[in-house]
Point group: C2
Chain length 338, copies 2
């Protein structure tokens, strides 16, 4: 059985391929009568144009690549949702890749996307090496980078997340409530964003008069289990903190779960704060305080900026998104440990 192409439609409708093409894409006037005839044949054959061929001819695929560090992190679900919604409405299709915090894989995926001729790319992965970024930049591929430094240009834009505002609010709230001993659960310094969060936290503590020797830094892995492990390390120390700040909500939830598991009660024994504001924050008991990010908006913005670049109207090449501290039960200042 022969595949039905634009040529067979043309033949059967008694017109040329170009006429068919034009009625499909509405790209030039076609007499109503012949138009209808073409449409009928298309209908009859149940014909659908081959996008591959179209993309090759037009040199654009209407496909964009999206690279995330971790598809299982709920934080990303809202973001994906935003990107997807915006893409759907503008008739773009998404090639989704899950980098799993792996530098090599990230690089690999970017290349694959380029090979598949994506029109542009959105990267929200902390696992980015300098080389990868440099190569991307050289490639001139339209790109929107979220939460990572990237040189602005005609075909790139950045979404910067301002963690400082949120972290400052948190620190002030905790310090003014009397907290003096802190711990921070980070992931690894390889991940740019977690290194930033750590540095901002330390510097804000400093501004609030808490010296670094009062701050314990423990490594996690951005996941619940990493948070659990980190918490075990924390309570094994002599001088325990009264307040724990985790690099993200999943890690914070790990702390919360393990603390409860070991019989501690929050926030009276420890206060704990995460980052992201995933839905689960409100489900657990005590509800989890967090540095909130507007995830859905981030997704919408990223896609919108990319589309602007693709249409050469990228007037704004950088957006700054503010974070803010949301105090919930897990860091209720009425409870000052000790």
């Amino acid at each position: 059985m022969k595949k039905t192409t634009i040529a067979v439609i043309a033949t059967n409708a008694g017109v040329s391929k170009s006429t068919v093409s034009h009625v499909i894409n509405n790209t030039r006037y076609v007499e109503e009568k012949t138009r209808q005839r073409v449409l009928d044949v298309i209908e009859k054959y149940n014909y659908r144009p081959n996008k591959l061929a179209r993309s090759l001819a037009l040199n654009q695929t209407h496909t964009i690549g999206l690279i995330l560090s971790d598809i299982s992190n709920p934080f990303y679900h809202q973001v994906i949702h935003g990107v997807e919604e915006c893409a759907y409405q503008n008739n773009y299709i998404i090639l989704l890749f899950n980098a799993r915090y792996d530098l090599a894989r990230t690089q690999d995926y970017i290349n694959t996307m380029i090979d598949h001729q994506v029109d542009g790319i959105i990267i929200m992965a902390s696992s980015l090496s300098e080389e990868t970024l440099f190569a991307l930049q050289q490639s001139k591929l339209p790109a929107v980078i979220v939460d990572h430094p990237y040189p602005a240009s005609d075909n790139s834009a950045s979404i910067i997340i301002d963690f400082q505002t949120g972290i400052k609010e948190m620190v002030q709230s905790l310090v003014s409530a009397g907290h003096t001993r802190f711990a921070h659960i980070t992931s690894t310094d390889n991940l740019w964003t977690s290194r930033m969060r750590k540095e901002i936290f330390l510097s804000e503590l400093n501004s609030a008069g808490i010296t670094h020797d009062k701050v314990d830094i423990i490594n996690g892995n951005m996941h619940i289990d990493g948070g659990r492990d980190a918490f075990k390390q924390i309570i094994a120390k002599n001088e325990k903190p009264t307040s724990i700040f985790a690099v993200n909500d999943l890690t914070a939830l790990g702390v919360l779960f393990e603390a409860q598991n070991l019989g501690f009660s929050l926030p009276t024994d420890f206060s704990i704060v995460g980052v992201d504001d995933i839905h689960l924050c409100l489900d657990v008991k005590p509800s989890l305080s967090t540095i909130a990010l507007p995830c859905y908006e981030i997704g919408i913005n990223a896609m919108t900026m990319l589309i602007n670049i693709l249409q050469n109207k990228n007037d704004v090449t950088e957006i700054i998104i503010k974070s803010r501290y949301i105090q919930r039960e897990s860091s209720d200042i009425k409870f000052i440990p000790d």
Copy 2:
């Protein structure tokens, strides 16, 4: 700046396009000397073949479509992981679509994938209408359908999840522990799999001597919030159940969270069981009993079967995956409510 194509490589290496093509794809012998020369030019120009053109010529894209009902359900993360891993190793790329339990959108996405000439498709979405399935079948597109009936053929295969084994174990365990009044939180009868789970549950209860008037059916939405709402409805009734079975783990977690929120204690007041065995089951307190499915294996199997179809060695067109009951604290039989 001109884009570097196979033609410019050919010119610069002083050979024909076909030779270049052959060294790239290792598809016929090329004298070592010229081979090296071609490779050098490729290196120098940093040339990467355009997959689009290749796909068009070969009439295969090495791309497969994956449709899920809900990317935010942790259950799928393991599945995606499995599919991805298998795809990565076999050099396939994944087009991921998130149907969000929406029938129309699902249909829409399938069409988009076909337009983009995916080589095959894996569907794990409960939101499938008969028409969609019929159209898919007519299209002859190689497909693997998970947890939904689909007629077997040369270019299709199914993964059937046997919920009965798991549900039977659960029912027996609960009934023998003395439970007599049950509630079930389903989603909607539109979703095939949730209708099945409900029917199996009812029939197993029946076999165990519990008549249907002892079983309360409430609607949820497959999410945590739906579980919370459902639980509120349950406790508003006169005759409360002692045991709640939820269509999936997220719903069950909603029950668990809301129950704790309202001051109930589990499993002494109610026992609760979910389906899927997502990681969170072990994190919460009490840990959540569930009907477990081997998600990662399901993903691996689905992709493997699809690849077999694509290579015309689809000897097995149906796999049955057994579920099993995992009893944890949330349905500990030592506690019999009332």
